[in-house]
Symmetry: C2
Subunit: 374 residues, 2 copies
Amino acid sequence: MPGSVGIVCSQFAHFDEPLTLRSGAVIHGYDLVYETYGQLNSDKSNAILICHALSGNHHVAGKYSAEDKGSGWWDNMIGPGKPIDTDKFFVIGMNNLGGCHGSTGPSSVNPVTGKPWGSSFPVVTVEDWVESQARLADLLGITQFAAILGGSLGGMQVLQWSISYPDRVRHALVIAAAPGLTAQNIAFNDVARNAILTDPDFHGGDFYAHQTRPRRGLRLARMLGHITYLSDDVMGSKFGRIMRTEGFQYGFDVEFEIESYLRYQGDKFAESFDANTYLLMTKALDYFDPTHHGRVGTLSDALKPATAEFLVISFTTDWRFSPGRSKEIVKALLDCGRDVTYAEVTHGHGHDAFLMDDPYYHGLVANYMSRVAP
Amino acid sequence: MPGSVGIVCSQFAHFDEPLTLRSGAVIHGYDLVYETYGQLNSDKSNAILICHALSGNHHVAGKYSAEDKGSGWWDNMIGPGKPIDTDKFFVIGMNNLGGCHGSTGPSSVNPVTGKPWGSSFPVVTVEDWVESQARLADLLGITQFAAILGGSLGGMQVLQWSISYPDRVRHALVIAAAPGLTAQNIAFNDVARNAILTDPDFHGGDFYAHQTRPRRGLRLARMLGHITYLSDDVMGSKFGRIMRTEGFQYGFDVEFEIESYLRYQGDKFAESFDANTYLLMTKALDYFDPTHHGRVGTLSDALKPATAEFLVISFTTDWRFSPGRSKEIVKALLDCGRDVTYAEVTHGHGHDAFLMDDPYYHGLVANYMSRVAP
């Protein structure tokens, strides 16, 4: 019977060695918060890294206490007997640099100034995250991961790992990802960013000093994000034109169920997430491009260094990163003669399907992982 | 050689008779601004009404002066020798009630208070627009239109005309429309509305008294709207990942061309459009539903009163109101035994294709109109 990893706790790692980012900016010392599930074996060959997406964090599986009503964000995927089997693998979840869940980010205090970094926190890229993740692996004595796994922006980090550190990744599981954003993807991100940037409570990113938060902007960004995470179909079947009110109210308060859902999601997010982190995450998405604007050639050229075996998974109704985008990755990997398994999962939920507990999808991952040596 | 209707001027009509809206609210007297092109024939049988979409207005064709750099918004469709031929037809464009281009709307002065209507302007529906348009027709002595034509929200007004006043519409041209919004459509509208409603400069809709405008909110609403008006394909081919800057700037100013385009569109709109009108227009879209939430049965039941002949046109890459939505209308009309011509135009531009000068599309309209008696 698949179970839970149980009660977990977060750990911190401090890094003193300065990290030079792709932008040229240098971070002098930083913390990363992470969690681990399962046991690292004696030759440290059974480690799996989970890379999170835009609003994710290091709390991937398990609960913080017996009373904890929630679980880690990918608890259905990771645990004893689950597709990522913690009886066999040692799994690491971490919060990316620039995040707002414990790793050093814009809301952290900059030791040099004694104030939150705010607008002075540098823009981080997917490459920078991989560097910082590699340092965490070094600290834990892991020279090579059995697998690295991620969905959406997490999948981009997996791709980057396979390019930056081919020797350190045996299996790369790239789920609901894309080899770069389209103009439409960038456009949605830019609207979200502008909602935050133009919120008077943003104060140029230094809202911490004003004892406020740009809730309006974050709320709009999250509402908009949610539209792109769901398929038109699932929105139609879950909400359709169902109303919460008895007939039309002829005003601008919530009337349709979909409005109530979006506003609730927006409000919840605006209370808990850091606006500067949101900006950074969307920018990392926009910037991700293994071809570096074609300077290293085509995507096939960019993926040439990769030596991992790949599992690439897409979802039929994902219109944010459509199956076609995954196929671009698969084609490039095949051009390089890489070993790739590709599956397009029929799923009605859209982009967020990668977080769902779907037997076929999870069966695919479980089956793939069954042939991964620990 | 197809030409222009030339120099045009706007006209005003004042209506003293109170208009009771669907909401129950009553407007005691209002103005409508309109333009006409071509000559009304002696039996007043050659009139065509153009219904505008969200941000449209009464200036449909021609120029205001010889120096006028712009033309009416559907100038490519309407004029001597054009698909809607003003040598044959008398064409009327009007600004809808609640608009911000001359017809009575939230930015107009309420004669009772001597102040702009602002938040007290009632929510208007597609049905209400048809009522007010019918009164304008009465004033001009037009008992029956040869055709009523509109794209997007304009197409919804055409549908409503065919239901509300079957005897007054001989031909109904419904372009890039839908028989009602999906949850996703409503969701986008709700994000746009929330951007406006939560802008501190909105002042609950009474910003006129504060000598300000909710520019931030309107700008975001328009940026978002533009994403849904364009196809992913055309955004990709026009903008792709092209940058305006030399390499990444690692900040949040404009870097990609698509960002520049969207912000420009947003800024331009925010300076000229009224925020309250934007709210009203999106609400009219949300509310439009000929079935009245199924209370009058199916769409086929709702369209039973219609006696017009129909031309329904959709565009392949329109993901806002996809061809499937037009086919719902066509199916319902066929269920009613109506005479319907349907065309799905292959066009890369998305929803906004209905405004484009496309020979195949215009040929279809011209061909259909050639058999419409003046």
